[in-house]
Amino acid sequence: MAGGQELKLLGLWASPFVLRSRIALNLKGVGYEFLEEVPGTKSELLLRSNPVYKKMPVLIHNGKPICESMIIVQYIDGVWDAAGPSILPSDPYDRAIARFWAVYIDDKWFPSLIKIIKAKADDEETAEAREQVIAGLQLLEEAFEKCSKGKDFFGGESVGYLDIAFGCYWGWLKAGEKMAGIKLLDEEKTPLLMGWAERFCSADAVKELMPEVDQLVEFGNMIRARQNAAAAN
C-alpha cells in the first residue's frame, strides 16, 4: 500500500459479499483496516458511507466510499492494477462471460440458496429452491469447463473475477446443506466444481479468510432465532 493512502473496509466475517472484497485486497497484497460491524446493528459510518442501501461491504479509500461487492472488486483491480495478476480477464469476451455468470450467481442462484438456508420446513418451496440450486451448479460446472480452459480456476492460472464471485458462497452452500439437512453438492454430477472449490479455498489469498462451515451454521441459526423472535413480538 502506497504511503499516505487510507483504506478501510466495513464488513462482517460471515458475509460472502464482504469476503469478496477481502480476497481481492489479498490478491493485490494491499493492507487495510477491517472495521467489523455488529450483527443486527448498522454503524453510523456504514449509514453515512452507503446511504442508498445501508449495506456492507463498503470500501473507504482516502475517505471516498465504494459500494456493491463486485463493483468494489473491479475498483480494487483498477486501482492496484500493477500489483499482482489482473482479477478481470484480459480479453473483452472472456470478461463479458465472467460478468454474465457473476450476475447470474447473484440475481438467480444465491436467492435460491437463501431460501434453503432460511427454510423452516421441508416444504414445496424448499424443494423447488433445491432444484434451482442444483440446476445452477450444473450450469456453473459447464461454465467452469469453458472459462478455465483446462486450468485451475475460472480465471485461468490464478483466482479471478468469477472465482471470487462464486467462491465466496461456498461456505454458505455447505452451511445450507447442514442447516436444511439436504444434499446440494454431488461429486459425481459436478466433479470439476468440487476440484475447483478445493483449490479456491486453499489458495493463499483465500485460505485464512474462508469461514468454518460450523461457525456459519451457528451464525445462521443465531440470525434465524433473532428473526423468529422479532416476528413473534
Binding site: V79, A96, R99
Partner: protein, 219 residues
C-alpha cells in the same frame, strides 16, 4: 475482417434500447432483429439458454447477454469511439453503482405502477418518485450523469424516459412536476442522434402497454 454484429431485441425494451444507444455512440453497424417476446426465436433460445431474454448481442457469431455486460463489452471492444465509462477507477465505480441502481429499481417499480391498482399502485408510484428524485440528486448540476458528455449511466437510464408517459398516465402524476431537472436532462440527451433516433414514441409505448395489460388479464 469486417465485424458482423447482430442485436436480438425489441423496440420497446428499455434494456435493448440502451444497447442500441451504445452501438450508435460507437458508430457500430449492426443488424437489428425484432423478437416477439411471446414467440421467441430459436436463435434467442439457443444463444441465451440461461435466461431466454433480450437483448443478446452477437459479435462475429459469439453471444453476449445481460444489457449492462453488453454495454461494457461494446465500450471495451470499440475503443475508437468516445469512452462510455470513465477512465478514473473511482468515477467508474460510481458510474457502475448508479447504473446498477437504475437496474435494481426502475423496471420493477415502474412495472408495479402500470400493473397494479389502488393502494398497491399508490405505493409503487410513491416509490418510483423517490427513486427518480434520488437519481435527480445524483445528476446535480451536471449536464449528464457522465459529466460534460453522455456516459454509461445516461445510456442505461434514458430509455426509461419513453416509459414515463405510461407510468404517469396509469399512476396519475407528472414526472415533470416531481423531477423537472430530470426531464431537462432527458431533453438534453435527445439532442444526440444516438438517443433521439433510437427511443420509441411514448404514446406507442403506452398503447403497447395497454395491449399487454389486456393480454395478461390485468385490466
Amino acid at each position: 475482417m469486417a465485424d458482423k454484429v447482430i442485436l436480438l431485441s425489441s423496440w420497446v425494451s428499455a434494456f435493448g434500447l440502451r444497447v442500441q444507444i451504445a452501438l450508435a455512440e460507437k458508430e457500430v453497424d449492426y443488424e437489428f432483429r425484432e423478437e416477439n417476446l411471446f414467440d421467441k426465436s430459436p436463435l434467442l433460445l439457443e444463444l441465451n439458454p440461461v435466461h431466454k431474454k433480450i437483448p443478446v448481442l452477437i459479435h462475429n457469431g459469439k453471444p453476449v447477454c445481460e444489457s449492462s455486460v453488453i454495454i461494457q463489452y461494446i465500450d471495451e471492444v470499440w475503443t475508437n469511439g468516445p469512452s462510455l465509462l470513465p477512465q478514473d477507477p473511482l468515477q467508474r465505480a460510481n458510474a457502475r453503482f448508479w447504473a446498477d441502481f437504475v437496474d435494481k429499481m426502475i423496471y420493477q417499480c415502474g412495472s408495479r405502477v402500470w400493473k397494479n391498482k389502488g393502494d398497491a399502485q399508490a405505493a409503487a408510484k410513491k416509490e418510483l418518485i423517490g427513486i427518480l428524485k434520488q437519481l435527480e440528486g445524483e445528476l446535480g448540476e451536471k449536464p449528464f450523469f457522465g459529466g460534460e458528455t453522455l456516459g454509461y449511466v445516461d445510456i442505461v437510464l434514458v430509455p426509461f424516459s419513453s416509459w414515463f408517459y405510461t407510468y404517469e398516465t396509469f399512476g396519475g402524476f407528472s414526472i415533470e412536476k416531481e423531477c423537472p431537472k430530470l426531464l431537462a436532462w432527458v431533453r438534453r440527451c435527445n439532442e444526440r442522434e444516438s438517443v433521439s433516433k433510437v427511443l420509441p414514441d411514448r404514446h406507442k409505448v403506452y398503447e403497447r402497454t395497454c395491449g399487454l395489460k389486456k393480454r395478461l388479464g390485468l385490466e
